[in-house]
């Protein structure tokens, strides 16, 4: 079953009147439910931009080409209001960002609980779910630590716990291991794979790390704002 499907996704950043960057130039992508997909490609190729579009943080550009479509679980998302997109992000999606993932004034449990509250849980229930999610990533004893009292890897695991707390059907992670050394990175990757296999969660990971790419079921390569075909990749390597 197709969980997420995007067609003709374009995104142009306008810096000035003449100065524009075509970050996405017509991307078609399909993510199957239960998949673990890596998005790889050179810096500036549009990976993060694609993540933001798939995660409903940015709308794809409607102009200068065929009308883009974005379907999630069979639903058309192109015409949703900000409020509807926000609610969908809260309930159906989990996010892990490359940097600055956590709210510094909140403890690990509060950071995770916040996402549960956004998805509609009451404070007490959110707290309980946060404790559960933290246990899942092996951070039960760090629940009351503030981000500044956690290591980089621990912070990243808190962010993963937060992404999972509402049992989302899709987790979008932008370089989840980017800041970690290889051992921590392997740990986090192992965790994601377990969650993918045992809970059937769908993961889309942006990464530079071939080890992460290798651990995923499929790799989508990006180049200059487009998904590169296998043949193009051969060409680029040559």
């Amino acid at each position: 079953m197709t969980l997420l499907e995007g067609r003709d996704l374009r995104k142009t950043y306008r810096l000035g009147r003449r100065n524009t960057v075509d970050a996405l130039r017509g991307v078609d992508i399909e993510i199957e439910a239960g998949e673990m997909v890596a998005i790889m490609g050179p810096s500036g190729s549009g990976k993060s931009t694609l993540m933001h579009v798939l995660g409903l943080l940015h709308a794809p550009d409607p102009k200068d080409g065929p009308a883009p479509t974005l379907r999630f679980d069979g639903r058309d998302l192109t015409r949703l209001s900000d409020r509807q997109r926000t609610a969908l992000r809260a309930r159906e999606m989990g996010f892990v960002f490359q940097q600055f993932n956590l709210v510094p004034t909140l403890s690990a449990a509060e950071n995770v609980g916040l996402a549960a509250e956004y998805a509609g849980e009451r404070h007490g229930r959110a707290r309980a779910k946060a404790t559960e999610a933290l246990a899942l990533v092996g951070l039960a004893e760090r629940a009351d630590h503030r981000p500044s009292e956690l290591s980089g890897g621990e912070q990243q695991r808190v962010a993963i716990a937060r992404a999972l707390v509402n049992g989302p059907s899709l987790v979008l992670a932008d370089e989840p291991t980017g800041n970690l050394d290889s051992r921590r990175s392997a740990e986090v990757l192992g965790l994601l794979r377990t969650l993918n296999r045992e809970q059937g969660r769908t993961f889309v990971l942006v990464t530079h790390d071939p080890a992460v790419g290798g651990a995923c079921g499929r790799i989508v390569h990006m180049r200059d704002g487009l998904v590169a075909s296998a043949a193009e990749r051969e060409l680029a390597v040559a």
Partner: protein, 388 residues
């Protein structure tokens, strides 16, 4: 509490902003209490003058106490418009006290029951009793509440007024207006006190028992106080006849300007306080841009972002309001305590003023937080996440 935690992030800034609000609310509380007191005085006066005409000697000015002869009383009693008329004698307890702020301590004499039940500004005894017909001719006195406190006298004590010992028979309930600082006594006693202070020429001309400083006149049924005053002015030369309308004209207009000025000062300080909250919240939003981006990205709605920041700004207002009220109450208490000894109670901090001050501070903070928080809620989450 999460808003409190966010405020604690930049303690100095928060404290400075709260101080701004505190000063504004302090001004509001102190000046508001002053306006309360003034309004109570005016309301008391309005009630007092509402059903009567007060006649005094024209040379003494509106509120002066130039002596009149009781003969004037007979002339007034003969008017068909007048139902009841009686003489009063009042003077300052301390003649050397020049007109200061507030109501000076005074003595006032009239015959008990002379109003024949027409007085609407009725006094009540808190301790002891009011004067009655049996006190006529005796050196008995009933003290106003503030006066009793400043003299530290209770029924049974003796108080010396202008060298004359008086027996205290009662203490009045507070009225928040003139009687609080006055000593009520029988007419004859007041006439003797007053006569003793008069220059020899006048004392020779009018015997003590014929003295009056003002004459209170109640109109007959169907006659307005205005009509009565006009009749008195026409029939008796050389007097002023003051009615409730005159009182309102003379007193209310001047105090209205005064009230407007002091409330204006308080409002200006609050505008400054409000602007400093806006500034603080704008800085706070700028510092937290990435955090706001995170919250929006993981599903925090715009409404939530606004609510969170407005709550924080409201908390600044609330804390400032409580601090301002506490400081204001302290100043009011100390000033009234110091003023009690000379009878100048300037402030009346009512519960309504206190509650208004706190609510106002909280709403001011929240209102000031609205603009920066709407700005925050409108941020593009991705741009906010990338913000350095």
């Amino acid at each position: 509490m999460r808003p409190l935690r966010n405020l604690a992030r930049s303690r100095l800034r928060t404290v400075l902003t709260i101080t701004g609000i505190t000063v504004g609310i302090w001004a509001l509380v102190v000046f508001g209490s002053m306006a309360n007191k003034i309004n109570a005085l005016i309301d008391g006066g309005t009630t007092y003058y509402s059903t009567k005409v007060v006649v005094s000697d024209a040379s003494g000015g509106q509120l002066g106490t130039a002596p009149m002869s009781i003969g004037t009383l007979d002339a007034i009693r003969r008017l068909p418009e007048a139902a009841v008329a009686f003489a009063e004698v009042s003077g300052l307890l301390d003649p050397t006290q020049t007109t200061g702020f507030g109501v000076p301590q005074s003595y006032a004499g009239s015959d008990a029951g002379a109003d024949q039940g027409r007085e609407v500004f009725v006094l009540h005894a808190a301790q002891g009793r009011l004067l009655d017909a049996t006190d006529a001719g005796a050196d008995h006195v009933v003290l106003g509440s503030d006066l009793a406190r400043s003299l530290k006298k209770a029924p049974g004590d003796t108080v010396t007024i202008h060298g004359v010992p008086f027996a205290v028979v009662g203490v009045l309930e507070p009225t928040l207006t003139a009687p609080d600082t006055s000593a009520q006594m029988p007419l004859a006693a007041a006439q003797r006190l007053y006569a003793a202070d008069l220059p020899q020429v006048l004392r020779d001309r009018i015997p003590a028992s014929q003295l009056a400083t003002d004459i209170v006149v109640f109109p007959n049924a169907g006659v307005t106080t205005e009509a009565l005053a006009a009749a008195i002015r026409a029939a008796v030369p050389g007097v002023t006849a003051m009615t409730g309308a005159d009182f309102d004209r003379n007193v209310k207009s001047s105090t209205a300007i005064f009230s407007a000025i002091i409330m204006g000062v308080a409002l200006i300080s609050l505008i400054v306080g409000g602007l400093s909250v806006i500034n603080t919240m704008a800085m706070s939003v700028a510092e937290r841009t990435r955090e706001i981006g995170i919250k929006r990205a993981i599903g925090g709605s715009r409404v939530r972002v606004v609510r969170e920041l407005v709550a924080e700004a409201g908390l600044i207002g609330l804390i400032g309001g409580i601090a301002g009220l506490a400081l204001g109450a302290l100043v009011v208490f100390l000033a009234n305590d110091a003023g009690r000894s000379n009878g100048t109670i300037l402030f009346d901090l009512t519960p309504a003023t206190a509650v208004t001050a706190i609510l106002f501070a909280t709403f001011l903070g929240m209102a000031a937080g609205v603009v920066p928080s709407i700005h925050a809620a409108r941020l593009d989450p991705v741009a906010a996440l990338r913000y350095e």
